[in-house]
């Protein structure tokens, strides 16, 4: 019952995470055009546009945290699987849960302190030491939104995995939190079916 609700929640989070990645990619593309215009104007015009480096660095910070959730939902986090691959699935499933727990703990500390950084910027109305004098709280707010969303996704994944663990569904944990096989990675990377992972399940 709770499990099914969580699965539906994860489906919803997947959709949001995909939109967040599209938005992040569009931000970087916009930054690329802005930087290009800036570089060309610097060479050709007496009054360059300027400030593209600062704006693109904010877009970069924001789009990165917005992509974290997509990354973990696609199990794209780098994990060293030399030993993992040799272990039976139940042990692997326990390692998957530990991996989520430690990632969640670390990101919890990061997010907590990132919120503090945001609050300090807001209260002291800090501005960037640049010609734009950007109020730092503005880009930091969107940056923190990505971190909070990521942390939320990690918590849902962890609860779902724990439920699977208690009911002994070790392969189901692999499917949402395991180390990715090479085949699935290739398919995603190149959008070509490699034909080797059909029927292997999870």
């Amino acid at each position: 019952m709770i499990g099914e609700t969580l699965d539906r929640l994860l489906d919803g989070l997947n959709v949001i995470a995909r939109w967040a990645v599209w938005a992040g990619g569009a931000m970087m593309l916009a930054a690329a055009f802005f930087v290009t215009a800036d570089v060309i104007s610097r060479k050709l015009l007496s009054a360059p546009i300027g400030n593209s480096d600062e704006v693109s660095s904010y877009f970069f910070a924001i789009s990165t945290t917005w992509a974290y959730a997509y990354c973990v939902l696609h199990r794209a986090n780098v994990r060293i699987d030399a030993l993992y691959n040799l272990l039976p699935r139940p042990v692997g499933a326990v390692l998957d849960v530990i991996a989520l727990t430690l990632l969640g703990a670390y990101m919890g500390v990061v997010t907590n302190n990132a919120i503090n950084t945001l609050v300090e910027s807001w209260e002291s109305t800090s501005t960037a030491n640049t010609p734009l004098q950007t109020p730092l709280a503005l880009p930091q707010f969107f940056w923190v939104v990505g971190l909070v969303f990521f942390l939320g996704v990690l918590i849902v994944l962890l609860v779902r995995s724990l439920l699977h663990l208690f009911s002994g569904n070790f392969y189901a944990i692999g499917a949402i939190a395991g180390v990715r096989g090479v085949e699935e990675e290739m398919e995603e990377e190149l959008h070509i079916p490699t034909g080797r992972n059909r029927g292997t399940g999870g």
Binding site: A76, R79, L95, M186, R196
Partner: protein, 427 residues
């Protein structure tokens, strides 16, 4: 302190904890055990400052550039053109594999992207022309590694960030070693196919007029190279700006080839942002670990320990090379770069080696790590693209090229000017 750190790190990594979490948890543990001040309170500020580092903006840009090139139909035509020019050599199309990888590497900052792209266009030829499949796969896995040595290179940006070394200088230093290594790969292929002519498969017959006609297909990658690398050394743009120019230019080429669409763009965004997030989460953890290691004095302790062993300069260097070769068998390269550079480079610099030169040496060692089993990402990539047969084929096929990389390491140590001569003309 040193032993505790290594044990925590090894246990977490071996337990397949995500590398970012392993580094993050290690920093928090070291902070708890050894620091007088609560360093974790700085993690928000440190993360924000590095998240907005202009140098690192080059990473998503180069990844996005690669994703666009992959989908713009540039690679297939380039491969056919290189094949016209190189496949008369003993080993035929295998030289086209290496040559195409080298050219693609000059537009791409990633080895995986290089091996995957060239592998996809080249692999249908193995059966059609009767090549020795193992050696053919080996040329793709090894050729792909050139992606991180020949500029632009994402790994050299990260090295530059961690060691405070100039990225344009590192890029210049990578050119000659990259060309020499591609040459060594081709020489290895010629030797193998002279010794066993039947490995070489059927040669491609082409005339001089075909060859010159094919040159037009080399123009798109050449233009991207000129835009990206030329703008850096023409003094027009920083590496980050150059990467942005490359993205806009490649998008124009994709539009010219009529491969630009909303679907193509969203796919490129997904691929680029996933890779960026994957890399950045580790980089940010590594940067904080770096901060903690320096604050608790561990970097100095390790340097003092190694220098106190009383080994000569060359003995220490050989020890470091062997350390990387062994580690490279088991560890993914980016994680290896991020976890070891903050500790190893201070030692190397204290011994009096040039950090730019060492950046190139470490890159060649990372390339070796990409094709040494059991964990060699490029072996997996080529095997995955192939979609049949066994992994052992790729591993055995890549072995001769591991030999070529050893030769390159020795050459770099004996003739440091291979890396340092070109930068010395500019800096």
């Amino acid at each position: 302190m040193l032993a505790t750190t290594l044990v925590i790190l090894l246990v977490l990594i071996a337990a397949s904890v995500p590398v970012a979490a392993a580094l993050g948890v290690l920093s928090l543990a070291l902070d708890e055990f050894y620091s007088f001040m609560p360093l974790h309170r700085a993690i928000g500020e440190v993360t924000w400052i590095n998240s907005t580092n202009v140098l690192l903006v080059a990473i998503p840009m180069f990844v996005l550039l690669g994703e666009i090139i992959l989908r713009a139909g540039i690679a297939q035509r380039m491969y056919n053109a290189v094949a016209q020019w190189l496949s008369w050599l003993p080993g035929g199309l295998m030289h086209a594999n290496i040559g195409s990888c080298a050219i693609f590497a000059a537009t791409s900052g990633s080895s995986v992207a290089t091996a995957a792209t060239i592998g996809t266009v080249a692999l249908p030829e193995v059966k059609r022309r009767g090549y020795n499949k193992r050696l053919f796969l080996g040329t793709l896995a090894a050729g792909g590694t050139l992606g991180i040595l020949i500029p632009p290179s994402i790994n050299l940006i990260i090295y530059g960030l961690l060691t405070d070394t100039s990225v344009p200088e590192l890029y210049l230093a990578g050119f000659i070693p990259g060309a020499v290594l591609a040459g060594l790969f081709m020489l290895t292929t010629i030797i193998a196919c002279t010794y066993q002519p039947k490995w070489g498969g059927e040669r491609l017959v082409s005339s001089w007029s075909d060859r010159f006609k094919a040159l037009i297909d080399l123009i798109p990658p050449l233009l991207i190279f000129i835009v990206v690398v030329g703008s850096i050394y023409g003094g027009v743009a920083t590496p980050t700006e150059a990467a942005s120019l490359g993205v806009v230019f490649a998008l124009g080429l994709a539009a010219w080839n009529r491969s630009l669409s909303i679907k193509m763009l969203t796919e490129a965004f997904e691929g680029a942002m996933r890779t960026t997030a994957m890399i950045m989460i580790i980089i940010l953890a590594a940067v904080f670990l770096n901060f903690v290691l320096a604050a608790i004095g561990l970097t100095r302790e390790l340097t003092d320990f190694i220098l106190g062993l009383g080994l000569s300069k060359m003995e220490t260097l050989i020890l470091i090379v062997v350390f990387y070769l062994i580690l490279g068998m088991f560890m993914e390269t980016l994680s290896m770069l991020l976890t070891t550079v903050p500790l190893v480079v201070p030692i190397v610099v204290a011994l009096g080696f040039d950090p730019v030169w060492f950046g190139i040496l470490i890159t060649v060692l990372l390339e070796t790590a990409l094709i040494t089993p059991p964990i060699g990402v490029n072996l997996y990539v080529v095997h995955g693209v192939r979609g049949e047969g066994t992994m052992t084929d790729v591993i055995i096929g890549a072995l001769p090229y591991v030999g070529a990389m050893f030769v390159m390491v020795v050459l770099l140590i004996v003739f440091p000017d291979l890396a340092l001569w070109l930068p010395s003309l500019f800096y």
